[in-house]
Amino acid sequence: MYITDLYSISPQKTFDNSIFEGEVEAFFGNKYYAIEPNYAELIPKGLLRRMGKAVRLGIGAGMPLIKKQNDIDGIILGTASGGLDDCIKFLNQIVEYDEGTLTPTNFVQSTPNSIAGHLALMSKNSGYNNTHMGMGLAFESAILDAFLLFEEGEVSKLLIGNVEETSEHNHNIDTFAGYFKDTEITSTDLLNSNSKGSVRGEGSALFIVSKNKENAICELADVHQFTYPKDKDIEKRAIEFLEKNKLAPNDIDGLILGFSGDNRYDFWYNDLMNSFPEANVYTYKNLVGEYATASGFATWLGAQILNEKNIPNEAIYKKTNKSPKSILIYNNYLGAQHGFILMKGI
């Protein structure tokens, strides 16, 4: 399938592309919050006030794309936790009012599908509509779903993407689970921190994908996933994935790796990087933080690299003399869930 348009809201200024003009934000601490656009033209005020952040990030990235081409055949999103903050807000109401009379707004927005539902509602789109929430592979599964749908031959254009929000509540829970660093550091030191835990990021990256090459900015060629691998031979798996796509390792001239500064899991990326010595290597979690569907941002970055945008130095981990035509994205979430995404230039 081919990407014909894209939009990202992230902790960097991606919504207006000023990240390519040298404006790179640095962060201190364990939370990298998204820099959000002014939604006023997009979302009526009353509606915006009631909207949870996850829904807002999804609408904010999706509606500008839909407005440009409102002939999409369906919407497929990946979000690990959707509007989890709405869940907790509703739960807090339950406890604080001892199960009294409650307003349903938070409850209705608490299910992960409410983002894709809102997008369908706002664009009056009765097409295929699905939401994947399998944690670190939710975005990869959304891509897979789109491939399956295109192969059936009934649709030609889809809106796909990822959305993830940060809230105090989910940060508290995940802190107990040991996801974050014990000490606060700056984002410029994140990847070299060599300690356990990472930082939390958030954002949305949405894409118009088409079955046809017309107006394409790049190709989203294939996706692959595996969970709890018994062996740690990431090179073997990458080569198998490439072989399936009739590519040899030296055909890959760009790697986008999910280094998160968590020394429990970063060895996976190092291992893969060493298997592709000639490839340019890019990182992104030092720009947008770690979250379950961060590979959505990696895909957005991949499309920009393939279109020779002025990629900030902070995202370039290793530069070689090759100019990227074929990019392999590899991400793992907490060492448990692993995904490959293959992208090609036009």
């Binding site: 739960l91 199960e99 409650l102 509602l121 969970t227």
Partner: protein, 413 residues
Amino acid sequence: MKKVFVTGMGVISAIGNNTAENLDHLRSGKTGIGPAKYVKSNYGQSHPFAEVKLSTDELKSQLNLKTTYGLTRTDYIAFTALKEAIAHSNITPEQVSSEQTAFISASTIGGMCNADELYEDANLISSGSEFVESYTGSTHTLKIAKEYELSGIVDVINTACSSSANTIMLGAKLIKSGRATRAIVGGTDSIGKFSINGFNSLQIMSDTPCAPFDANRKGLNLGEGAAYLILESEDIVGDKETYAEILGYGNSNDAFHPSSLSEDAVGVVECISRALKSAQINPSEVDYINTHGTATGNNDMTELTGINKVFNGFPPFNSTKSYTGHTLGAAGAIEAVYSILSINNNELFPSLNCNTPIEPFNEFPIKEHKKAEIKTVLSNSFGFGGNCSSLIIRGTECEKVAMVECNNEKKHD
């Protein structure tokens, strides 16, 4: 495109801890809805619920899992149905953990059934409970993946109350496309304060046993349960027993309102029509409809409107939620299992509590248990966010006859 067969099923709900017990209740018209025993909520006594009739400890003790750390009621219910499905399909542990086996599951409440722990963890009142990695609707899937050492595609779908219908659709698609030869699909949910207060805040939770398709229906009852189906490609099914074929599916969005369906049933008509088209059958070939039938004012009226638009009348239909309550993320899978039971036994189960049909349709759901030739079933599932899904499930009797004839012809050649 490969054909997709159901070779195993497992179900646990308010009407039984396995498929046989569920079938007994459906045949005898015995509901599982009643006073709650395990629900911890102020509404526990004022409203009926459809609880699984085992305590969380009893569920746990029947399973013999490698690890139980951080497992919730939702997880134990899932493991119970999954264990039955795997045994029923007679697949080996190696086959379950093969990279060719996909696992697609769903849960809307997930570990939020442990509402008190979640409240304390999220608001830093606790020092971190054992459930911090158990709350979202996808955590049960990772726990299952670890226990069964799954290595293929592992995915979790959320389309609210139609979630597990979409797991069946996606599993079938993965097999048809050749990306997997086997898919384990379904969903799980349990009852908690969160869902109780949610549906109550929307004023659609009935204080009496639900009455789908009755003019005086007062809303839904919450239920809990899980169901898993083993789907296998025609390439690997061999001479194994098959229980049904997943013939078609349709997915749409009503695009009308965050928590209710449009009067003209746009999404309902679309998903049924797409399912019929993907199955390549005419509406007249549908022998029975297992409806979404939640017994809310909005759902039942819209669903009848949609069915009438597509079928220009009404094939026999029922709502098995009058037995199980609304099991949310598990409903689509549980109802797919019941649909297959109707096909395999050539019988229709009575829909309970409808005394006065809805105007202007004036149609009663199936009133009594009866024998009937059931080859093809439509199963509907709808959810918040406008998500609508329909499945077309067909018996494999005719399929088998055709395959034998085909093989005989080959022999003659």
